[in-house]
């Protein structure tokens, strides 16, 4: 087993996020490394957890207007055709699942076998997810045509 502190978690997460947005949404992202939590009056957060030799969460924070843009892009719809809130949640959940699935695979290949959960969605106004007791906490923000979103990774080994 390698040292979890030496893993390039942020690099993994950035590459996965770029790949998912490019392939599924045909969007190129401008990545901004950031330590600040994203503040948005209204946002959707998609999270997947992994558990095994490592435990962790990966959360994708998306302001609601951008989530609608993502839903339209992923489903090949016009923006004004996106009406179903469940559809938006499903898209954000699936994006989180793909980013989390890729990160989980990299952790397994690095000697940290673990299993992936199904995604969960949190919606609300002006909230911040605080998490304690993790060995690593990485975060980056990205921009896409004026929209700002964020990916967070929390991770710790289990002994």
């Amino acid at each position: 087993m390698s040292d979890i502190n030496k893993l390039d978690l942020i690099g993994f997460a950035i590459n996965s996020t770029r790949d998912v947005f490019q392939t599924m949404l045909s969007m190129k992202l401008n990545v901004i490394e950031s330590r600040l939590p994203m503040k948005s009056p209204n946002k959707i957060v998609g999270c997947v957890s992994f558990a095994g030799d490592v435990m962790g969460n990966i959360c994708v924070h998306v302001p609601t207007p951008f989530a609608r843009v993502m839903t339209a892009a992923m489903l090949g719809m016009e923006l004004d055709e996106v009406e179903d809130e469940g559809e938006i949640s499903d898209v954000i959940g699936e994006v989180s699942n793909m980013i989390g699935g890729d990160l989980k695979s990299r952790l397994c290949d690095a000697g940290f076998p673990c299993q992936l959960s199904i995604p969960s969605i949190t919606r609300g106004n002006d909230f911040v997810i605080e998490s304690k007791g993790w060995m690593r906490h990485e975060r980056f923000a990205f921009q896409q045509e004026g929209h700002l979103a964020m990916v967070e990774v929390f991770i710790k080994t289990v002994n």
Binding site: T23, M24, L75, N97, D102, S105, C108, P113, L116, I118
Partner: protein, 246 residues
């Protein structure tokens, strides 16, 4: 004969992407949202191909595949696995289970079609005569297209009807038909899935300038009145009665 494809994924988004990928071809895509539902659809509909997700609630794709491979009459249905996990252990596990192919998410619809064409020859839509369209739920009665809803419509049945409905509309256009009867006389339970299906049919018929009539029991008429979307529908007691009103 259209290729029958079953998409099993808990994400409606992925099921839509799969359905869209096949929409240019002579295929019918039916859907299930977990392994239990998937096995039930496989037993009932005997699809030609299964596109199967791994991480799902209730029953995951690995368990569904394992149960499928345990049934002699179903074990030879080709399966393409969809997984968000590209790790080598995961891939090895999938390959050992005898799947035809696998795809790692994120993926494009064209990539899925490329994999499928290694197993089947896909006919572009339009090369098969639309008149060949057939489904247990659809029939033509004296130049009127009739959709007879089943006794009980679960999610997968509704998805199948929705898929076939598009073909029925095309078939009607090809035959120059403009009258449609939705017969719910057999239907014992009206749930939100059925209401959504009916409202979607109403909208499509309006868009395509198709004259629509409803057939159902008095009980059904009362039930439909309880839903905002269907409260204004006039219900006829038989197909013949409905036909007389055109």
């Amino acid at each position: 004969m259209a290729l029958k494809v079953l998409a099993v994924d808990d994400s409606k988004t992925i099921r839509k992407i799969v359905a869209k990928a096949f929409s240019a071809y002579d295929c019918v895509v039916i859907e299930a949202e977990n392994g239990v539902e998937g096995l039930s659809v496989v037993s009932r509909d005997k699809p030609d191909l299964i596109v199967l997700d791994i991480t799902m609630p209730v029953m995951n794709g690995i368990e569904m595949l394992s149960k499928l491979k345990g049934q002699p009459e179903l074990k030879d249905i080709p399966v393409i696995m969809l997984t968000a996990e590209s790790g080598k252990d995961n891939v090895m596990q999938i390959v050992k289970m005898g799947v035809k192919d696998y795809m790692v998410k994120p993926f494009k619809g064209e990539q899925l079609i490329e994999r499928v064409t290694k197993i089947f020859t896909l006919e572009p839509k339009g090369t098969t005569a639309v008149n060949e369209f057939s489904s247990p739920f659809f029939s033509v009665y004296e130049d009127i297209q009739v959709l007879t809803l089943p006794e009980k419509a679960d999610r997968s049945t509704v998805a199948e009807i929705e898929g076939n409905f598009g073909m029925a509309i095309k078939s009607m256009a090809a035959k120059g038909l403009s009258r449609f009867i939705l017969n719910a006389n057999k239907t014992k339970e009206i749930n939100m899935l059925v209401v959504k299906l009916i409202t979607s049919i109403v909208q499509t018929c309006e868009k395509n300038r198709i004259h629509l009539r409803f057939v159902g029991s008095a009980g059904l008429a009362a039930e439909l009145k309880g839903f905002e979307e269907t409260s204004g529908f006039a219900i006829h007691s038989s197909v013949a009665d409905a036909k007389a009103t055109f």
